[in-house]
Symmetry: D2
Subunit: 366 residues, 4 copies
């Protein structure tokens, strides 16, 4: 894991800025022999794509992915299959509308990485956030599809990874109404139909006020066998924490009971075990499917909190590059809740962590 | 970062089991020329050491650290100085009291890594938790001292890293009473004198009941210059998340506003900027000192939640290695709140992450 | 360093196959603020390009490089400068002439990676060698230009890296006639004008006979300060050995006296030291500028041997994928001495190793 | 691979100086379930040990290895078995005879790392060479035994790794007399009984003259299946080159035909293939068992050249730390040919590279 690379065996490196010609990802270490076409990846990108409702930025991104390397097809194969060589995926940036950047060129937007990039590098590509733009997450979503295929290839059956929004601003879902089937039926990936309705009102109000809301995303991986992970610094939960915290605007990561675990008693927290159908069966899942950094075979449950969009219409106090005090307000399109777009990204990161650990485990333990 | 290694340039690898002859850590990449004696490290180990109050396990660990390599002293130096070679630290395990392990040898303790280690490796060293024992964290604390010295060496002045317990079980501190000076005055590292008193009652009750409590630890690093970190997968907060989540029993990590960030509005969340003494000055610190994965120069603030000790006196449902249903209760000494011992470990991990990023930044950006 | 990545801080990852749409490289960890335009990279690619004489393959590759990310230009900069973000370079594959691959699709070419790729991956992209094609080295040459710029940036003055062919087939140059000025005057990068003439005859004969010749390439880096490298597994010479051996067809790597060092006496081998102009001055350079894995400040001298092109017109015994014995002969264009094209690749790899060590050294030692 | 770490999944980190209290190695990523006792490792250390003949340094090193972690034994196992946790091995430095280091403390020994360590780190442990001492290679030999066991574990049958000295000073063996059975019968690991006799005379003369000789070591691994390695920067031969070049005093590495490959014609070089016993069978092995960076299933053949010992009795020109010109001669015990001790080290490094690739391959390709 280096600056722009994640993973150990199943590794990927992303590149590209919001307003450059394109963005992309190179996946190295993917097992050979996996059927992989651009049209397998495209639906995930389309689901993530902004502009699908009034609640996400209206930027029109076609997000058509191209596979530039790492697959091969001839008349002996039933389609392009991975060869074990690096898989290079590229997505063009179509909607780089020419725009006046004079404001953010010189002023640091509060809550954004403008100040820190300048502090670190002495210069920055300020167009649309440059490297720090959430646009980079399209690469993760594309790579995540490859990771899901790798997991199915290694385990011989699909690992199911689902994600949803369980809180928008201060508004949590009602767990009693939780249904994965609801998730695709509303623009928020909300598993609670009633909450989804209410959120619409809240978010519309925030949008009209030029304000924004945070969110909490929950990601659940089912079908992961026991034994993935490693004891100390290669812990499965440590890698998930790193993966989720690397998502734009993330400020917290929870596994299983998460922050709430602190308030539980030992009796409430430790998941008891029984046998069921000849296999170990946990009577609860406070652990979120991970004990000692290694998967238990239960659902792996992670959540991450995303802060409210920092680009808001209200003028905010800030300084310029040369140290003058001033104000700044975001103009034009903005996402009132960037957390919505974080849902498929969270699912992708889970797939990417699991694929790496699946290969690592197979490597060390056979 | 591999299974038992953390860091990129400033890297450390820990080894050892709870009941082996010793445990240790090898630190590679430490800058040369730093004064380092065993007596610099020992106080941190003594502070972490169990047996200092009735609220932590009564195991008697002397925890005397030996420096086996990586320092050199002659009549031209004022003491042993790091040479740039790997620093090997070893701590003997003195109190390996012979004990009947028949119970945990065959039964999986709920909440522990017993089941997952067997699932992964097919065997495990069950004595005292083996590799998954919190004993390993002594190595982190020792390495953390070296990291703090490296930070002072690189920055020319000390980075101050402090940690405390801000919640025990469901009981939070009152932020209005927060004082770092209180932290060393009670056995809980609690910054709120009133809460510390109350916690004593709560924890004593839990201990007598054979139960246990979780905790939330807060770690604050002051004096870190702006510019440490990296944009995408080398984010400073992603590394802190990985570091904190790798600590035994951790189930959640927060940066700055953390989970609460989700409930804030954009106006509340984004920290405004002004100038002060000729330098950028943030008017709040919801960001916890990190924007876009890079330090802002403000205090870096992280928290992690630790679940309640899984070893409790109440019998719990479980299974044996061979799949028979049974019950298990912990006998003998136990920590009613392992979170207490997590305080110095959290501080050490913060130092270790920052040292690595300080060297990485100096490497890439000069 | 993983499968397709090289380096630690200054890291690059290449991707692409000979007959895919394009090939490319992603460079991560490059210092910010370096002026970088496609036209800075292009000349190095043009120099490496096949088709420049009858002695290298007539494949017409335009090899126009595009910079897709990692640089930024506005009216405050004097051109595009690196931002510290990943630099993505892409080179289109123009000359993918449609061709009958039936022969190499089913038969393993002796001396090529056909058999081993099938053994490892179970399938392979056989068009033009796929991933194992020397085409990949264009990416190294492009990345090498960035590395040279990074070296100049870090050291404040240019490190000069030169390479030449010192042996073709069994024919060595005469060291007494060695002149770097000759290197660009002949199609072989030969520093000996007389030898260059003779080689022309030898190579033409080999070409006409459908045979091929090996070569030895020498790479010299001047202006590298003392202190780059690391003691044990991060040795500068170990990294150079890895870098050079990773070049297609390389079978041996030498540092300084190389294999000949075995035949020297201790008195002949160890380079004596005197002072000159107030600085340490070595009286010879058997060490090739590296002692104990760390640079001495002298010229760094490395050589690598490249085997003769395996694609020859003479029919050779081989087997098919299904295990039938058969013969194979290469048809069409071929390089009678692939070593010639290895010259700029060797220089590029030297630059890439040095850039990584320059940043590592700055990181650890300041 | 960092400064003092080698490998990706099967990783090891060495630590320690020649005259510190001990040296050691931590192996991470070893598969679980492998029987491992100190007495399995000891014979390899004894074979490497100096003092076994008058031709190697008379330093008395007991080299008793201790296993401090990573194995577990109970009444259900037939001995201590690896657990998947880090294996920490320690070897005490017994013979740290107190000695006058005044000379090498201030003077740089030509051919040694004295100057470069000071240039890099600003200080060095000069006692016995400190970190740059060949003493570190004892750790490699110990780790190599674990690697050999891991290979047998993964492949289900032993990979046989043998090494010998094929050249001492300018004196090569006669390949016609090559016999592995001779190797253990003489103090040089020489596979040619006649040459061994002659070398005795040559080396005795060098020793008496206070001079020294270089050597070439050949390492052969048999029984390695086809498919280990990776195409570009994870090439098996690139890793072997790095591994061998990291051995003290190594100046060149060859695979298969090595430097000689440059002088061969394409017809001579490319190994033809036939079927034998239903399996691919190469008619020669110029490739040294590796094509395109991936093993062919043939013997893997590597050689490395070691320079003559730099510590000789003849006074040599050098400078002091403060830049004064002076002379230095080594006093006391010295190895007239350090290459002899390099033989078991070369074998160990081969085992370590192969173990890493075996696990990597199993991880990526199943």
């Amino acid at each position: 894991m280096s600056f722009n690379t994640f993973g150990r065996i199943f590794r990927f490196t992303t590149w590209g800025e919001s307003h450059g010609p394109s963005i992309g990802v190179v996946i190295d270490g993917c097992p050979p022999g996996i059927l992989l076409r651009a049209e397998d990846i495209q639906p995930a990108l389309d689901a993530r794509k902004p502009g699908t409702s009034k609640f996400v930025t209206q930027r029109k991104e076609l997000d058509a992915v191209k596979i530039l390397s790492g697959v091969f097809e001839d008349d002996r194969t039933d389609g392009p299959r991975t060869t074990g060589a690096p898989i290079s995926l590229e997505i063009e940036n179509l909607d780089q509308r020419s725009k006046d950047y004079a404001d953010i060129r010189d002023k640091y937007r509060p809550g954004h990485a403008d100040f820190t990039y300048d502090a670190k590098y002495g210069l920055r590509d300020y167009r649309g956030g440059g490297r720090s733009s959430a646009r980079e997450t399209a690469c993760r979503v594309a790579a995540g599809v490859v990771a899901e295929k790798a997991l199915a290839h290694v385990f011989g059956s699909a690992v199911s990874i689902k994600a949803c929004l369980v809180q928008m601003g201060p508004h949590e879902i009602d767990r009693a109404r939780f249904s994965w089937m609801e998730v695709e039926k509303n623009p928020f990936w909300c598993p609670d139909a009633v909450a989804a309705k209410e959120w619409e009102t809240h978010l519309e109000a925030a949008r009209r006020a030029g304000s924004s809301m945070g969110a909490v995303i929950e990601v659940v991986a089912s079908g992961v066998p026991a034994g993935l992970g490693a004891p100390i610094y290669g812990k499965l939960d440590a890698d998930i924490a790193s993966a989720m915290m690397s998502i734009n605007a993330a400020k917290a990561v929870e596994i299983g009971a998460g922050m709430e675990a602190a308030a539980l008693s030992g009796e409430e927290n430790a998941d008891e075990i029984r046998m069921k159908d000849g296999r170990p069966h946990f009577l609860s899942n406070q652990a979120g499917g991970i004990l000692g950094g290694i998967s238990t075979g239960q659902d792996i449950v992670a959540r991450f909190a995303v802060k409210p969009t920092s680009s808001i219409l209200t003028p905010r106090k800030t300084i310029t590059r040369s140290g003058e005090e001033t104000d700044i307000a975001t103009k034009g399109r903005h996402d009132p809740c960037v957390g919505i777009r974080g849902v498929p990204v969270g699912a992708a990161m889970m797939a990417l962590v699991l694929a790496d650990h699946a290969l690592l485990h197979r490597g060390q333990c056979g």
